[in-house]
């Protein structure tokens, strides 16, 4: 049962930031609300004020610029899923969005809302980490940017200081011979991930050496993490089956999975051991073709 609150619907970012500064901790931001309203209906969240930024059109855009892709925080999942330019240049984002929850949730839920919700099993963050994306947040005292992997601090906790709003996601143009892939393991297709793996591989020119690799794991720790040690196993080397499975073993040691009704800790580690080599190999294959 939702407790009543005062509802503000600012039309501009400036207005929104002013409201957030004014009401501080007593107010919460709502955009698509696809995750937040579940918590509110169950009485887990009951703010006195709500700043509804769904209507702020200045934060709702997909810009393909020279230095990369810019996505406004209030852009819906479905808009990303159906964007021709993203399909062409960043296909992994479309693959990820297609399997995110349901069409209804994707039509109204936003990429910014998902990232700020901070669910370690959320689909976008591992992919954005693999794509080496950065985020911009804005507050009354000005803007600051950070790599997306530093944004999630802990279980459902993100680096938003009081009165700040996430405004934009930036994704750099991938270097040549680069490909990024994503998969999530679950029993029901559109379910949250039991474990998810995003892998990005950049090949050296013509010699099959893995010039750079980024591996991100979802639902394997209190927040989405980069498997840095596993990356070191592969970086700068010629990829072999043995190396790939070693990377999988190493990645499994970097996780802090939980046991819950979906899977045990051991099983999540086992999945990381299997999916990291599998996805890295897939990225490698696509990179060769790119």
């Amino acid at each position: 049962m939702i407790k009543d609150f005062e509802h503000f619907a600012p039309k501009t970012l400036k207005e929104a930031l002013a409201l957030l500064a004014k009401y501080g901790d007593d107010c919460k931001v709502i955009c698509g609300g696809q995750s937040l309203l579940i918590l509110m209906r169950q009485g887990l969240v009951a703010p006195k004020y709500m700043v509804d930024i769904k209507g702020i059109s200045e934060l709702n855009y997909i810009k393909d610029e020279k230095d990369g892709l810019k996505i406004g925080a209030t852009t819906t999942h479905r808009a990303i899923e159906k964007s021709p330019v993203i399909k062409k240049k960043y296909p992994v984002l479309v693959e990820m969005e297609t399997r995110l929850a349901s069409i209804q949730t994707r039509n109204w839920g936003t990429i910014g809302g998902n990232i700020c919700h901070g669910d370690p099993a959320g689909d976008p963050v591992p992919v954005l980490i693999a794509l080496n994306a950065t985020l911009t947040v804005a507050g009354a005292k000005g803007k600051r940017s950070m790599p997306v992997e530093n944004f999630s601090l802990d279980y459902f906790e993100v680096d938003l200081k009081d009165g700040e709003l996430l405004t934009e996601i930036q994704i750099p143009v991938p270097p040549p011979r680069t490909s990024t892939v994503y998969t999530k393991f679950n029993i029901i297709e559109s379910d949250l991930a039991t474990v998810s793996v995003a892998a990005s591989v950049t090949l050296g020119s013509g010699d099959g050496v893995c010039q750079n690799v980024r591996i991100a794991l979802g639902a394997a720790a209190p927040m989405a993490i980069r498997a840095k040690k596993a990356e070191k196993v592969l970086k700068g080397k010629k990829i072999t089956e043995a190396l790939l499975s070693e990377a999988g073993e190493v990645a499994a040691t970097e996780t802090e999975p939980i046991s819950d009704i979906a899977a045990s800790e051991e099983y999540r580690r086992e999945l990381v051991k299997v999916l990291v080599p599998r996805m890295t190999k897939e990225a490698l294959a696509r990179a060769k073709k790119a």
Binding site: I2, K3, D4, F5, E6, H7, A9, I30, G33, Q34, L37, I38, R41, Q42, M50, D52, K54, G55, R78, T98, A101, S102, I103, Q104, T105, N107, W108, E189, S190
Partner: protein, 159 residues
């Protein structure tokens, strides 16, 4: 305190005052009085409350009513034109694409939105279109057959 909500439901404009906490589904059922839209869960996962908002399928239990300000909402009661059923409604009848009928309004809205956006979806896209809607009676395949029949043009659009 209450705020003004001006929006259209099935083409009919409404201008009402609602408490901010009110969800779109509550306003549609209790204030506008259209009980075709149902509710089946408390975790935004069953899809029985699906309506169309500005042409998109959304879960009306997961949209604040005030966020529908200025929007065009279509509910299952808005599918028929006068006494003529829509092609999808006729296809659902022919293919037994419902049994208890409680999820049917949601299924019809998801399918209608799917075809409005993409008149020629593949079978996989049809399945994605209704994947957000749980049905415990039919096993979904009859619904996919009904949507397929409409895509194949077996039903005329009601004039």
């Amino acid at each position: 305190m209450k705020k003004e909500l001006k929006f259209k439901v099935n083409g009919q404009p409404y201008d009402i005052f609602v408490e901010p906490k009110k969800l779109l589904v509550e306003v549609l059922r209790d204030l506008v009085g259209l009980t075709g839209t149902k509710r089946g869960c408390n975790s935004s996962s069953c899809g029985a409350c699906t309506v169309m908002l500005n042409g998109m399928a959304v879960k009306s239990c997961s949209v604040l009513a005030l966020q529908a300000n200025g929007a065009e909402v279509v509910t299952v009661e808005g599918l028929a034109t006068g006494n003529k059923l829509s092609p999808l409604q006729k296809a659902f009848l022919d293919h037994g694409a419902y049994q208890c009928g409680f999820c049917t309004p949601g299924m019809l809205m998801s399918s209608t939105a799917l075809l409005a956006e993409n008149p020629k979806p593949t079978k996989q896209q049809m399945k994605e279109g209704i994947d957000g809607n749980i049905c415990r009676c039919t096993g979904y395949n009859s619904i996919i057959r009904a949507v397929t029949a409409v895509v194949k043009g077996e039903y005329k659009e009601a004039k």
